[in-house]
């Protein structure tokens, strides 16, 4: 009982009386019984309870409630309480009653004075809600919890009812399919369905993005079971907008996916066995849990539990859904592990609602014990968003690659087209080339034919010339024949004349003969008349004449024949010479021949001209041929260029592809890098923030310290001698520092002595002595310091001298003797330097003399090692030669000490920055010496290299000495620090 509550209801005094308490307890019990009844059995709707209202009105006169009720609902409910109070007769245990009373009274008070309670006692309310809101308070408490009682949407509800919504059809379709088994929503066009529709429609109007989403109807239905539609609307709007349910119902439903992912993560963490089983069975979270989140379990669990879950949801938000989900799985784990996917689905559909119907609190108790880490949820959310973004990126990438691919394909197409055109052009070029070649060939053939013709013509010409010649010959022959013919004609004419003369002669003879005959005949006649003897003689004479006559006839005949022959021959000749007037003919013939000749000549000229023309033509053809050749060559060139172009374009294409690939790779690399960097930067951020936090803490601490110090300072400020003391302390610290240094030196020298093999006892003695002498050494140190500075100057001069010696050396390189003189002088110089630096002149000079004596010997190594040792001794290392003076412990000790002092002096000098010049100078001398030496021994190459080697070894030694220096310094500060401090303290 919260008696301390300032908002004490006027009821409270009433309950102080025991009888009243008992009575009230009875009433509560009854109410509770009623409530359970209502929830589980018939789910009779509390909001649609005009009956109850009526009752309350009846019992209003006995109300003890203060008048300032938040709403009529509250008063109604309290009236209910009163009614039950008056009517109840059932008895129950007092304790339980008291608890019930408490709850009712508290809720009554809370509801009546919500404003102040919600501000001041929110955790208390939270606890109460966890225990469960009493059924009758539920409607109003829900409104109060989500601050819906003064929502602006409520006022506009009537307006929304009148406005049409684009989702109306969809909503209408699902109205009958929401809580189809529930009495309130059973009747088609009943009150339940109508108000459900109204609320859904009204919401679709105020949230256009979400509009209507399947599943939300179940939540509205549950709300409608508790309160009237106007209030339902405002509560639902609050749930959607302020409890982020609308994120889940948005068209993309990303939030639901996230919840699934988170739940999966939780199962994996809290119920690993089940998670593995689910994975094995391919049982995805969304198969069973989608409706859990979308309907806040109203669809999957009995309404009584749903109401309790909504109670908690209003207080705890979505967390409770996860809790209940895990609780459900946890309590059913053993059953689920034995089922396959179908079995599990059936289990979720059938068995789960039945399992928790009886005892809703058990589930909620389990739910409250679930380990729910907001951090883990955030992590899961991040993971999910990264997974989603990755998916989206991938999709984007995929889309990008697709478009790129498309573009590349296009480009390839373009290139192919180009290629095609180029190929076409190539083919065309080839074709033209072929045609050209053909032409060329044809031209060649033409040329060859024309050449042939030319040759033929030349042949013909020759023939013609021959003809002409022959004709000329013939004409000459003919003229000759003509002349012969004239001679023959003359001969024949003479013959003819002779023959004519013969004929005349013959004719004369014949006349004579005829005369003779007549004479004879006359003689005969006379003889006949005269005697026969005479006749006979006459006859004989006759016969003889007759014979002569025959002979003349014969010769006549022969002559005639000859004449005929001649005639014939003539005729023949005439015929041969074409005519008797052959001269004329021959002339004409000549003329004719000449004509012919002329014509032949003309023809020849023509042929020549033709020949020339042909030649010209040939020339032309050749030039054409040349041109063709050129063209062809150009074509070839073009072709080659085109090929090259094609190759280039292909290359470019390849390169492009390559580049694209590379770019892709790069982009992926870059994106991965970016992600990594993101991650790194986030981690760094976190680290930084942590560091900052730490720093802040430290600052705070420091400030506190500072504060403390300031106050301490203020307290001590009265102490005047503090400053003096501090100065003193500083001085003392310095002194102690010096002491410490000297002590260090001593320890070092001790060490060295030990190394040398000295007697340890005498060593310690000497050390003690040196410790006591440390103050003296200090003063000596300063002196030494000064002398060192002096030496430094002298050394510089010496280096100059050495340099001049080097120059001198250069001048007289050939004269070895002088060089050696120089060298020896230099050795003396360096010896002087060594003596200036410390009291190891003897060793140094000996080493130097060794050096000079060995300078011309091939055994340079030993010489240089000596030299190196001397260099190291320059650097305050224990001289190896010190072993020889182990008998004089004391003196060596002092030497060492001085050396140490020098060293000590060198330390601050080195620190000051001018220090390195000292060793460097001495080193420089040595180096120069060695250089000189090597110069001298240029003749022997091996010597030179050895010298170099030695030089480097010398360097190394120097380095080693420096390191030693550092070591001693370090050990000094470390080991002696405490002692020094103690000393300071004691001195103070």
């Amino acid at each position: 009982m919260d008696a301390s509550s300032p908002q004490h209801s006027p009821k409270s005094p009433k309950f102080t009386k025991r009888e009243d308490l008992v009575l009230l307890a009875k009433l509560e019990e009854a109410n509770r019984a009623l409530e359970i009844d209502e929830k589980s059995v018939s789910l009779s709707v509390p909001s649609d309870s005009p009956e109850v209202k009526g009752h309350s009105r009846q019992g209003s006169e006995c109300s003890v409630l203060s008048g300032n009720s938040v709403s009529s609902h509250v008063s109604n409910l309290t009236f209910d309480e009163e009614i039950s109070h008056s009517h109840n007769a059932a008895a129950s245990p007092v304790k339980k009653k008291a608890a019930e009373n408490d709850s009712w009274v508290q809720w009554g008070r809370i509801v009546n004075d919500w404003e102040s309670y919600s501000k001041k006692k929110y955790p208390q309310i939270k606890d109460l809600v966890r225990k469960g809101i009493p059924h009758h308070f539920r409607g109003i408490v829900w409104q109060l919890l989500c601050n819906a009682h003064n929502s602006e949407h409520k006022d506009k509800y009537a307006e929304y009812l009148k406005t049409p919504s684009p989702c109306e059809k969809m909503i209408r379709r699902d109205i009958a399919r929401t809580y189809p088994d529930h009495d309130f929503f059973k009747d088609k066009d009943g009150l339940g369905q109508e108000s459900l529709f109204n609320v859904m429609k009204a919401y679709s109007l105020i949230d256009r993005e979400v509009g209507y989403c399947q599943g939300s109807g179940f939540i509205v239905g549950l709300l409608l079971m508790q309160m009237p539609e106007e209030e339902t609307f405002s509560v639902f709007a609050k749930l959607m907008q302020e409890y982020k349910l609308r994120e889940m119902f948005k068209p993309s439903m990303i939030e639901l996916g996230l919840c699934m992912y988170q739940l999966e993560g939780l199962i994996q963490e809290l119920l690993p066995d089940l998670s593995i089983h689910f994975q094995q069975q391919g049982f995805h979270t969304s198969m069973y849990a989608s409706s859990w989140f979308l309907t806040l379990f109203t669809m999957s669990l009995p309404i009584a539990i749903s109401c309790r879950i909504v109670d908690l949801f209003l207080i705890e938000g979505i967390e409770i859904i996860f809790r209940v989900a895990i609780a459900l799985l946890q309590t059913s784990e053993s059953e689920l592990l034995g089922l396959d996917m179908e079995g599990m689905l059936r289990y979720f559909q059938k068995d789960i609602p039945a399992k928790f119907e009886a005892d809703p609190e058990a589930l909620l108790d389990v739910a409250h014990l679930i380990k729910y880490s907001i951090k883990k949820m955030k992590k899961l959310e991040k993971e999910y968003s990264s997974v989603k973004s990755k998916e989206q990126e991938e999709q984007v990438e995929l889309r990008r690659l697709r478009t790129e691919n498309k573009l590349l394909k296009q480009r390839i197409d373009n290139l192919e087209r180009e290629n095609q055109t180029l190929a076409d052009r190539l083919i065309q070029a080839q074709v033209t080339q072929a045609t050209m070649q053909e032409e060329k060939f044809a031209l060649k053939r033409d040329i060859s034919t024309s050449k042939q013709r030319e040759v033929d013509l030349v042949g013909k010409l020759d023939l013609a010339e021959k003809d002409v010649e022959r004709l000329n010959q013939r004409t000459t022959n003919l003229t000759m024949a003509e002349g012969q013919a004239g001679i023959m004609i003359q001969q024949l004419q003479e013959e003819i004349k002779q023959l004519k003369l013969q004929i005349d002669n013959n004719n004369g003879a014949m006349r004579e003969l005829r005369e003779k005959i007549r004479e004879m005949e006359e003689l005969n006649r006379r003889l006949q008349k005269e005697p026969t003897s005479e006749i006979q003689s006459l006859q004989e004479e006759l016969i003889a004449s007759k014979l002569r006559e025959a002979e003349a006839n014969l010769s006549m005949k022969e002559l005639k024949q000859r004449v005929n022959e001649l005639d014939q021959f003539w005729k023949k000749h005439m015929e041969a010479t074409n005519s008797p007037d052959s001269k004329k003919l021959s002339k004409s013939q000549m003329q004719h021949i000449q004509d012919e000749l002329m014509s032949v000549k003309l023809r020849e000229a023509q042929a020549l001209s033709e020949h020339k023309e042909m030649k010209q033509k040939v020339m032309e053809l050749e030039t054409q041929n040349h041109i063709c050749m050129h063209q062809m060559r150009r074509m070839d060139d073009e072709k080659a260029a085109l090929k090259v172009l094609i190759d280039e374009s292909e290359k470019r294409e390849k390169e492009c592809l390559h580049m694209i690939k590379e770019m892709e790779r790069k982009s992926t690399n870059v994106s991965s890098k970016k992600k990594e960097e993101d991650m790194m930067s986030r981690i760094k951020d976190a680290e930084h923030s942590q560091a900052i936090a730490e720093m802040r803490q430290r600052i705070a601490e420091l400030e506190i310290e500072n504060q403390e110090l300031v106050t301490a300072g203020q307290l001590k400020s009265t102490d005047d001698g503090e400053d003096d003391m501090a100065g003193k302390i500083a001085d003392l610290q310095e002194q102690v520092w010096d002491l410490k240094m000297s002590r260090k030196m001593q320890s070092v020298s001790m060490m060295r002595l030990a190394n040398i093999g000295c007697d340890s006892e005498s060593d310690t003695e000497s050390l003690d002595a040196t410790i006591t002498e440390s103050d003296k050494f200090r003063s000596f140190m300063t002196e030494q310091m000064n002398s060192l500075d002096m030496n430094l100057d002298g050394e510089n001069e010496l280096t100059n001298g050495i340099q001049s010696a080097v120059s001198r050396d250069d001048c007289s390189t050939r004269e070895l003797i002088t060089i050696t003189d120089d060298d020896s002088s230099k050795t003396a110089d360096s010896a002087f330097l060594g003596s200036a630096n410390m009291d190891i002149t003897a060793t140094n000079t000996s080493s130097m003399s060794n050096f000079s004596s060995l300078s011309n010997t091939p055994d340079l190594v030993s010489c240089w090692s000596d030299d190196a040792s001397s260099t190291s001794s320059d650097h305050k290392l224990p001289p190896p030669g010190g072993a020889s003076i182990d008998s004089k412990k004391r003196s060596s000790l002092t030497q060492c000490n001085t050396a140490n002092n020098n060293y000590k002096q060198n330390v601050p000098v080195t620190d000051a920055g001018s220090g390195p010049s000292i060793p460097k100078h001495s080193l420089g001398n040595k180096v120069e010496d060695s250089n000189l030496f090597s110069d001298i021994n240029t003749g022997t190459l091996s010597n030179n290299t050895q010298a170099n080697a030695l030089q480097t070894s010398a360097h190394k030694d120097i380095e080693g000495s420096r390191q030693d220096l550092g070591d001693t310094k370090g050990s000094f500060s470390g080991a002696e620090g405490v002692e020094v401090l103690d000393q300071i303290v004691t001195q103070v």
Binding site: M170, Q214, P251, L256, M287, L339, E342, R346
Partner: protein, 214 residues
């Protein structure tokens, strides 16, 4: 035939898709329970039902996923397409809009299932012939154009409901027989003899009768 402890030799995975209110859940209920559920609550996410049928003497278990129809639930239901051997695409013959949306459903079905998935077009509510808004011929043509099997059914009267589910199974079985459906393929949607032993064989039968009851 029934091998080992199982009384079926194949499992075919089905998915039922379509606009909200076309009767997907009622079809499933009619098929699994053989009765019409007038007031079936609307589906949130996915529902599930099974029934064992016989094709060519082989006992086949149909594992049917019934999806929420509202557009925004596709984000959730898309993951159920994968590995479906049969897809029943449902529209309401009395509402043209549900028919008009088929192409979008078909795109989803084609994109998210394997090429061998048998897609069966169902024009539901054939009992309401008086309110018909989409003709049989039109839908048949659409089905032919897209290579879909097609029937008009009524979840209310049960007309053709069995046939639609059985014809799909026959087609899938035929695909298996002629080798076009590779059983070993990861997302064939067909399991030859279930791999996980069931702890209770007799749960199969009653299970098939339970189906979609919420």
């Amino acid at each position: 035939m029934a091998a080992g402890p199982y009384n079926y030799s194949y499992i075919f995975k089905y998915i039922i898709i379509g606009d909200m209110g076309v009767g997907k859940s009622c079809l499933l209920h009619q098929f699994t329970e053989k009765k019409f559920m007038a007031d079936c609550p609307h589906t949130i996410g996915v529902e599930f039902g099974t029934r064992i049928i016989e094709v060519s003497g082989q006992k086949i278990k149909l594992q049917i996923w019934d999806t929420a129809g509202q557009e925004r639930f596709r984000a959730v239901t898309r993951s159920y397409y994968r590995g479906a051997a049969g897809a029943l695409m449902v529209y309401d013959i009395t509402r043209r809009s549900t028919y008009n949306h088929l192409s979008s459903w078909l795109t989803d079905a084609r994109n998210l299932t394997n090429p061998n998935t048998v897609i069966f077009l169902i024009g539901n509510k054939s009992d309401l012939d008086g309110q018909r808004d989409v003709t049989y011929e039109e839908a048949k043509q659409f089905a032919d154009e897209n290579g879909l099997m097609f029937l008009e059914c009524s979840a209310k009267t049960g007309e053709n409901v069995e046939d639609a589910f059985l014809d799909t199974a026959k087609k899938i079985y035929q695909n298996i027989q002629d080798g076009s459906l590779d059983l070993n393929a990861a997302e064939s949607g067909v399991q030859h003899k279930p791999t996980a032993p069931r702890n209770a064989i007799n749960t199969d039968q009653p299970a098939a009768k339970e189906g979609c009851s919420c």
